[in-house]
């Protein structure tokens, strides 16, 4: 039976891979001798739930996980971080384990707290620290410390103008993650190896403006102009080292959960709702304040509120429905009418010059095969994800060209990468939801 190694690169972008390919000997060899496709992510194309969608073959609606934080009930403040406990559908490693096959799982977002697996598991970056039981078995934690020292779950203090420091930290994390990967695959039995390195995501968000001449903040004289390219070269070298340790005949998949694109600005979703009369505050804050804080402080007049929103790389909009939310105002019979009105209104928000930006407001029921848990009523891609959603209130404007949470140059794009070596087929595009069945198929199960 074939071993499968999945090398996950969070946010690795197909256009960048093609652009940098002449300087990427490892990926170049894999692509020339294998298959290279664009990998369509889920909606929203965001790390959680996208990786778990890949490894379960289930869409966010089926998983009931629509982002890093999800409503846990219909209260206004009831949001919870999506931990492994939220993912109840079997993963590919659960299914392989039932067949007696062993998996090594490293850094996959959505795996903290670690569940028992046949094999071993090192949680992703939602583990609060390495002081917690972030591995299965728990005793693996001590071995990791003895192998690589203090294990980096992520780059801390990522929002910084000190780009030199950030580049070094991202490289340090990648170096260590690949070193640990090599140690694990060399010392432990496995049939499936799957890892995720967060480095590409962190470097894109931190340095995209330095790389992209089309970015509004691009400085052609920046000393970090080639930092992303150089990071991809570094990553290529680390992948090459890892591949050299894999047993002959291993099927290699290099994948990402989504791509990246320049971020052109932000739209204040709650500022817009206030301006249009859909959201009413008891007192407008004197300084920028998070929506969650306004809710907790009782500053939202729910009796005069139709909808409120959450910020992030994409927007989430919730309607205040009578009989559903504690102080709902929207009669259920008017729900669809108001949802459509809001979707159209959001889609029509132009930039400051009055030019359309191509916003899309999506209904979960039209995106997913099932809708479980509590989804947002609308998922909003401002500027088709070239603008982020600003949730804070107190700015007295809706357009932003700086981030309310610190410097960030990039947003997510719907296509990631899929490289398979040896070659599978000639397809140029596939879905992230196919990967689960593909792995099982490669490992001897019937496809699909």
């Amino acid at each position: 039976m074939k071993k499968v190694a999945v090398i996950g690169l969070d946010c690795a972008d197909p256009d960048l891979v093609e652009e940098f390919l002449p300087g990427l000997p490892t990926l170049g060899e894999l692509i020339r001798g294998g298959s290279f496709s664009r990998l369509r992510s889920v909606d929203p194309p965001i790390t959680v739930p996208a990786w778990m969608c890949m490894f379960t073959g289930r869409d966010p609606g089926e998983l009931g996980v629509y982002g890093f934080r999800n409503r846990v009930d219909y209260s206004y403040a009831g949001l919870g971080v999506a931990t492994s406990a939220r993912f109840s559908r079997p993963t590919v490693w659960d299914e392989l384990g039932r067949r007696g096959l062993r998996s090594i799982l490293l850094g996959i977002p959505g795996t903290y707290p670690p569940k028992p697996v046949r094999g071993l598991l090192v949680s992703g970056f939602l583990a609060p620290s390495t002081e917690t039981d972030y591995t299965y078995p728990a005793s693996l934690r001590g071995k990791i410390a003895s192998w690589v020292g203090e294990y980096m779950l992520d780059v801390r203090n990522f929002r910084t103008e000190d780009k030199g420091w950030l580049v070094e930290e991202v490289r340090r994390m990648t170096e260590q993650r690949f070193a640990l990967a090599r140690r694990l695959i060399s010392e432990k039995d496995w049939d499936l190896f799957a890892m995720v390195d967060m480095g590409p995501d962190r470097i894109h968000h931190g340095l995209w403006a330095h790389h992209d001449p089309g970015h509004p903040k691009h400085d052609p004289g920046s000393p970090f102009r080639d930092a992303i390219r150089d990071y991809y070269r570094f990553l290529d070298q680390k992948i090459g080292e890892l591949l050299s340790d894999l047993p002959e005949g291993t099927q290699v998949l290099v994948v990402s959960d989504h791509g990246a694109q320049r971020m052109e600005g932000g739209i204040g979703i709650n500022e817009w709702l206030i301006r249009e009369g859909y959201l009413t505050l008891k007192a407008y804050p004197e300084e920028p304040t998070r929506m969650g804080d306004l809710i907790k402080r009782g500053l939202v007049d729910w009796s005069r509120t139709v909808a409120w929103g959450e910020g992030g790389y994409y927007g989430r909009l919730f309607l205040n429905v009578k009989g559903r939310e504690p102080q709902g105002t929207v009669p259920p019979e008017r729900y669809e009418e108001l949802r459509s009105e809001l979707a159209e209104g959001l889609a029509a928000i132009p930039d400051e010059e009055g030019r359309p930006i191509g916003t899309r407001a999506l209904r979960p029921q039209e995106l997913y095969r099932e809708v479980n848990g509590i989804p947002p009523d609308l998922i909003v891609y401002f500027g088709d994800l070239r603008w982020r959603s600003i949730g804070t209130v107190g700015w007295d404007r809706i357009h932003f060209h700086e981030n309310d949470t610190g410097p960030d140059d990039a947003n997510h794009a719907p296509h990631g990468i899929f490289i398979a070596y040896p070659k599978l087929d000639e397809r140029r595009e596939r879905s992230i939801l196919e990967v689960h069945d593909l792995i099982l198929s490669l490992m001897g199960d019937k496809y699909g």
């Binding site: 934080r69 028992p116 939602l126 609060p128 728990a138 968000h205 959450e310 949470t405």
Partner: protein, 69 residues
């Protein structure tokens, strides 16, 4: 990770775990039992994945990363 407390469980269960520690990928009976119970309690919502301080830290990290605001 909290303090450890001794409990008694059926000997047959202990033996089965001991015989299959390798397949269960655990270093000891205690390690396996604790992991299985933790998973079950988390799934039922009887145990929180984070302490309140940890949850605040994780949310702040997600905010710093741009996933939330």
């Amino acid at each position: 990770m909290g303090e450890k407390k001794a409990i008694e469980i059926d000997e047959g269960i202990v033996q089965a775990i001991e015989e299959h520690l390798s397949e269960l990928s655990a270093g000891s009976v205690e390690e396996y039992v604790e992991a299985v119970l933790r998973e079950r309690l988390l799934a039922e919502g009887f145990l929180s994945p984070y302490s309140p301080e940890e949850e605040k830290e994780v949310e702040q990290h997600l905010r710093d990363l741009g996933y939330l605001d």
